[in-house]
């Protein structure tokens, strides 16, 4: 009788304790890409020097923060990267930082795996020392092994961040800079 009661209680307990998830970005498995457009070129670059952390509270509230060194972006052209660093005044503002917050649907964090959840996070992009608030759509996949995979993209205005846009042959690059992220997060080690 007691054993049956214990079994019932255990069955009623969720698989995940529903506590706080403290997740860290796996830099080796994650990347952040940017794309800019000039009348003559479309340029893409990426950084694998992403540092980040996300906290999922028991009620599904999410807080995330990602930081990328400007000097880690590589567009495949050393000279262009150097010019990009000059335009972003890397010596004064060495990092691009994004903070985001939002809510997961109920039971998403402790639900079955794998599970993909679309989210729209309220975010703040700190680029060139200027913080701009915006919404960031994110596709979050809770993998069976415990890892969390977050992908998405958004556009930032270089003018809004007061970046003096670089030019080639006296034609400036376009204002919109597309940023795409592909982040793999794992439970932080204590």
């Amino acid at each position: 009788m007691n054993a049956a009661l214990l079994a019932t209680l255990l069955a009623a307990t969720p698989a995940s304790p529903g506590g706080v998830h403290d997740l860290e970005v796996d830099p080796g498995a994650s990347s952040l890409r940017f794309a800019i457009t000039h009348r003559l070129h479309h340029v893409e670059g990426r950084s694998t020097g992403v540092r980040g952390r996300a906290v999922i509270a028991h009620d599904g509230k999410v807080q995330a923060m990602v930081r990328v060194p400007v000097s880690s972006f590589d567009s495949g052209d050393g000279n262009r990267d150097s010019n990009m660093q000059a335009a972003l005044e890397v010596e004064r503002f060495p990092f691009v930082t994004v903070k985001a917050a939002g809510s997961l649907p109920p039971d998403a964090a402790g639900g079955p795996r794998p599970l993909t959840v679309p989210l729209v996070l309220a975010a703040e992009v700190d680029l060139h020392g200027v913080k701009v608030a915006r919404e960031v759509p994110v596709q979050v996949t809770f993998e069976a092994g415990g890892a969390v995979h977050a992908t998405g993209e958004f556009e930032v205005s270089l003018d809004a961040h007061r970046v003096e846009r670089p030019s080639l042959f006296f034609v400036k690059i376009e204002d919109g800079c597309r940023i795409a992220f592909d982040l793999v997060l794992r439970e932080a080690r204590p």
Binding site: L40, Q63, A64, V90
Partner: protein, 242 residues
């Protein structure tokens, strides 16, 4: 006289025990001490209003509310006033003055480069017209000689200036050489620079061979190197544009 010990104990207990505060003490009107000859005035009501006391007491949080207060001080989920990563490691960045100078010099380099490419194109066209006038039509009017020579010197001057700008531009961000767009641009422009240097010497020598049998042959080589130089320059420009 000896007091019974039980009575002594009772007296000590009475002294040690604080007198209970009468609940109605504050409600009693307080009277200021007055001299004995003073007529008894109307009693001044200095007692606090019990309702106000209640309000004042209600505004003071009980000890248990401190925890609640701390919770409210933390940013609510959804608020972006948080820092999950802590202070960033400080990185020694490149010298901003050098970065600015590099940008200025390379902007001028682009302008001079456009002029250089145009001058080289014009020099090649004028060189072709000069060759045709001298060796194809045999009219030998020399009407293209001075324009070709002028443009050739202007091209050389532009090449020297632009090469100096590129080489003298500081590189505060050190990077290994890669065969990327700028790598191709550099190789092509060094080739073009060598071509221009050769053209100056060969052009002067060809002109000095006036009346000799080999002048046409030298002029032909000079023309071919001119086209090759223009082609190298086109590759250099295309590497940046395409």
């Amino acid at each position: 006289m000896r007091l019974p010990s039980s009575l002594l104990l009772a007296a000590l207990a009475a002294l040690a025990t604080p007198a209970p505060v009468h609940a109605g003490l504050l409600v009693e009107p307080l009277r200021p001490p007055l001299p004995a000859d003073c007529p008894d005035p109307a009693p001044a009501d200095l007692a606090p209003d019990p309702a106000r006391v209640l309000v004042a007491l209600a505004s003071d949080p009980p000890a248990g509310d401190e925890e609640e207060k701390e919770k409210k001080a933390k940013p609510a989920p959804g608020d972006l006033d948080f820092d999950l990563l802590g202070a960033a490691e400080t990185q020694e960045g490149p010298d901003p003055a050098l970065m600015k100078r590099r940008r200025q010099m390379l902007t001028v380099h682009q302008g001079v480069g456009i002029a250089l490419y145009s001058l080289q194109a014009a020099t090649v066209v004028l060189g072709q017209l000069n060759y045709r006038d001298k060796f194809s039509t045999h009219m030998n009017t020399e009407k293209w000689r001075i324009p070709h020579k002028s443009f050739a010197y202007a091209t050389t001057a532009a090449m020297v200036l632009n090469g100096a700008l590129a080489l003298a531009a500081p590189t505060p961000v050190k990077k290994p050489f890669r065969l990327d767009r700028v790598g191709v641009h550099k190789i092509a422009m060094f080739t073009a620079a060598a071509g221009i240097a050769t053209e100056v010497g060969l052009g002067l020598y060809t002109h000095s061979r006036e009346g000799y049998m080999d002048q046409q042959h030298l002029a032909k080589v000079h023309l071919a190197i001119g086209y090759a130089t223009f082609a190298a320059m086109t590759v250099g420009v295309a590497a940046l544009v395409l």
